[in-house]
């Protein structure tokens, strides 16, 4: 995918390259924004801002990094900037997650989304970000690593710690 977009950019076919990036990455970028901002409407607005910025800077693409890596950098910076200006991170709960539904635990009892959201909130920030993004991005460790600009091994390590911590909380 990225090679095709890169070729289009080298040929100066900016609009087609932009459409390709939009088709391939709008959902991923939206879910990344959602992980950072925790608010569906705001995440959608920020996703639009990210693609607008991408459109603006596309002529300056120099081919040093893959277009998607470039896009993720813009996305990360825009999300962090939105977070800083709105201080949403600490204020909002994980209220965008799917509707309440009883989910069985492996041990006993029934867990609903609020309980799981509370457990996620108790995780250290990086572990929470990684495990949330992992499930939002269809369980792709490499994609999460690129989005957060972390090595794949580090992502896995945070993911495993988060899994063990969540299991321990459930058992409490």
């Amino acid at each position: 995918m990225d090679e095709g977009i890169e070729r289009l950019l080298k040929k100066g076919r900016r609009r087609e390259a932009f459409e390709g990036l939009l088709d391939a990455y709008e959902g991923k970028v939206f879910r990344m924004a959602l992980m950072f901002l925790k608010d569906r409407g705001r995440a959608e607005e920020v996703t639009q801002d990210i693609f607008l910025k991408l459109w603006q800077v596309l002529p300056a693409y120099d081919g040093r990094a893959a277009p998607s890596t470039w896009l993720y950098t813009i996305a990360r910076n825009t999300c962090l900037s939105a977070l800083r200006s709105e201080t949403l991170r600490k204020a909002l709960p994980l209220d965008w997650i799917t509707e309440p539904q009883a989910v069985e635990t492996g041990t006993s009892g029934v867990w609903n989304k609020m309980q799981l959201a509370q457990c996620l909130e108790r995780l250290p920030e990086m572990q929470r970000d990684v495990i949330t993004l992992f499930y939002l991005q269809e369980k792709n460790v490499e994609e999460v690593a690129r989005m957060l600009d972390l090595p794949g091994g580090t992502v896995k390590s945070h993911l495993h710690r988060a899994r063990l911590a969540l299991a321990a909380m459930i058992k409490e």
């Binding site: 569906r40 693609f51 800077v57 989910v103 492996g106 799981l116 939002l136 993911l159």
Partner: protein, 137 residues
């Protein structure tokens, strides 16, 4: 295989949906604690899967984005403009200082300082203009 290694394998298995290796299967057959971990982690994975299902963008997303894109002209201000102003200022200051070398050191230092301040002013103005343009978008 010891329990520590088995635990790592189990977490890898949950991440990547790889089938358990024979070595892990053999360990699980004889280790209740690791079997328990696999069961707990599989249940947690299913739960997270159910609760953190990827949401979709609203149908109006693209329409709204395209409207905004139509209003977006290409940036006519190159982003490297402040840097360019800085380097041009440095060049002018260097040339002036060399040209003024025969004069007293006070004159040279004053000229260097004056050009640096003027350059800094222009660089700040350009940077501010670019940021204002960015904010307007």
């Amino acid at each position: 295989m010891d329990c520590r290694r088995a635990q790592e394998e189990i977490l890898e298995f949950i991440d990547e949906r790889r089938t358990n290796g024979d070595e892990l299967d053999a360990h699980l057959a004889g280790c209740e604690q690791c079997r328990g971990l696999l069961e707990t982690q599989s249940a947690l994975d299913r739960k997270l899967d159910a609760v953190l299902s990827p949401p979709a963008l609203s149908p109006a997303f693209r329409t709204s984005l395209r409207k905004k894109l139509r209003r977006e002209p290409l940036s006519v201000w190159p982003v490297f403009l402040p840097d360019l102003a800085h380097w041009v200022g440095c060049f002018v200051a260097t040339v002036l200082c060399i040209a003024l070398l025969p004069f007293s050191s006070g004159v040279v230092m004053f000229t260097g300082l004056a050009v640096t301040l003027v350059t800094y002013f222009f660089q700040s103005v350009l940077q501010g203009s670019l940021e204002a343009l960015e904010d307007e978008k």
